[in-house]
């Protein structure tokens, strides 16, 4: 299976995969250093092909329309995260975070005291998540935590970026849930810790759903038993 996946790098670079194949390859890419390195070269060659297609000038109005929509988005889409609210009884083990990060349109706002390291780590976390999901990912703020839920353009695939979360205590694990119509469904386990690592969810996040995280016994649960530590805005 995995050797098949390696072979998808060239068709992926040429956008010659259907949606399912593309998704499978992107999941593989997240774990395969060799493929990432190889893909860079293949994509560079594929990108150059664009120059051979150069034709007529676009209509002059197109530039203005693009800038106008970008401006409209900036005013509505910047996501500002609330200051950390980790001090819930159930989450005494979770480290407090001083930084306050705003992203969405690449805006990194923060208190002047936030460390460069934290900013770098957050930036790398988001960069990785955007890489996994494609650049047009929607960004949803987290309530009760620092970070965001990112949902791939046009469908369901999603990643959580959570910053400053302590590693789960021994024998416990963080578990993500996709909550739709008040029904939580398990969406993957993660350990936490280490800056702002993105967590690719194992379940798609449909429109209207939210994603929440609880602390569960090692191995995870089918229904949440812990209280919600933090959750995303509705997708």
């Amino acid at each position: 299976m995995s050797s098949d996946l390696h072979e998808l790098a060239a068709p992926y670079a040429l956008d010659a995969l259907d949606a399912d194949e593309r998704e499978r390859f992107e999941r593989h890419l997240a774990e395969c250093e060799r493929c990432s390195a190889q893909l860079a070269e293949l994509q560079e060659a594929a990108g150059a092909l664009a120059f051979a297609a150069e034709g007529p000038e676009p209509p002059p109005s197109l530039r203005g329309r693009i800038l106008e929509s970008a401006r409209a988005e900036s005013s509505g889409k910047v996501v500002a995260f609330p200051p950390h609210r980790w001090a819930l009884p159930a989450v005494a083990t979770i480290a407090a975070v001083a930084a306050c990060v705003a992203i969405g349109l690449g805006i990194w706002a923060g208190s002047l005291s936030h460390s460069l390291d934290r900013e770098r780590s957050a930036k790398a976390g988001y960069a990785r998540a955007f890489e996994l999901l494609g650049g047009g990912a929607q960004v949803k703020a987290l309530a009760g935590g620092e970070g965001a839920l990112l949902v791939a353009p046009g469908g369901g695939k999603a990643a959580l970026v959570v910053c400053g979360l302590s590693p789960a205590p021994a024998g416990r694990t963080y578990e993500a849930w996709v909550i739709e119509d008040k029904t939580p469904r398990p969406a993957g386990l993660f350990r936490g810790g280490g800056g702002c690592p993105p967590v690719l969810l194992e379940r798609e996040v449909p429109a209207g759903a939210t994603v929440a995280v609880t602390l569960e016994r090692k191995g995870g649960a089918q229904r949440p038993t812990g209280s919600i530590l933090f959750h995303s805005a509705a997708v």
């Binding site: 068709p11 010659a16 070269e41 594929a46 664009a50 034709g55 690449g106």
Partner: protein
């Protein structure tokens, strides 16, 4: 962050003071026209609208030409370019210069958007394989730099073995998936994949040899 307008040496380019970032920091940057493509994209990641405009000025025409060739419809091509640039605007924080040239990164969005649109249109028309791509037309203006880039790439393409070139052109300009290609060319899927792989690798080598710089 401590640079001020007063730091500019005589004859140096003026610094443009952008709006302060939230948190009280101010970003000082050279005029966007002086930035490399990569630095420009990083400025876009800082939500700099002027940088987005400059990015469009550098790549809008190539983007539109590409979208038009794939979609063969001016309105759809405009939609694809607009959506792709907005994706760039939203996603520029994900760009890392050590992983890709800015032009590659931007044009990848344009290509993917155009291919997604052409597949959707063809499904609607019940024509899964689509028409063969048209040959690239001559440019409408005398942008010498752009034309020479076009010529370099076209020349490199023409030096690929015919079966590799065919697979690459049908996929990239025609928007066909590898499975559609295998069917159209009556070849096993593995053959198609290896033609694409060898062709792209060869193309990369030829472009490096020709000194192709998309920036």
């Amino acid at each position: 962050m401590s640079a001020t307008i007063g730091d500019v040496r005589p004859g140096a380019l003026p610094l443009v003071r952008l709006r302060p970032a939230a948190g009280g920091r101010e970003i000082l940057r050279k005029d966007v026209a002086q930035l490399s493509d990569e630095a420009l994209l990083e400025a876009v990641a800082d939500s700099d609208e002027a940088a987005l405009g400059e990015l469009y000025d550098r790549f809008g025409r190539v983007a539109y030409g590409l979208a038009l060739r794939i979609l063969r419809d001016a309105t759809l091509a405009e939609d694809a370019v607009q959506e792709a640039f907005l994706q760039v605007w939203r996603g520029a924080t994900g760009y890392r210069r050590e992983r890709a040239k800015a032009s590659t990164w931007v044009l990848t969005f344009v290509h993917r958007r155009a291919v997604d649109l052409v597949r959707r249109e063809e499904r609607r028309r019940g024509d899964p394989s689509g028409a063969l791509p048209e040959p690239a037309g001559p440019g409408a203006d005398d942008a010498v730099v752009a034309r020479s880039r076009r010529e370099i790439v076209q020349d490199a393409l023409s030096r690929l073995p015919a079966d590799q070139r065919e697979a690459i052109e049908l996929a990239y300009y025609g928007g066909l998936t590898q499975s559609e290609l295998a069917e159209r060319l009556s070849q096993p899927l593995g053959t198609i994949k290896s033609r694409m792989f060898s062709g792209l690798q060869r193309l990369h080598a030829l472009l490096v040899e020709a000194g192709f710089e998309s920036a």
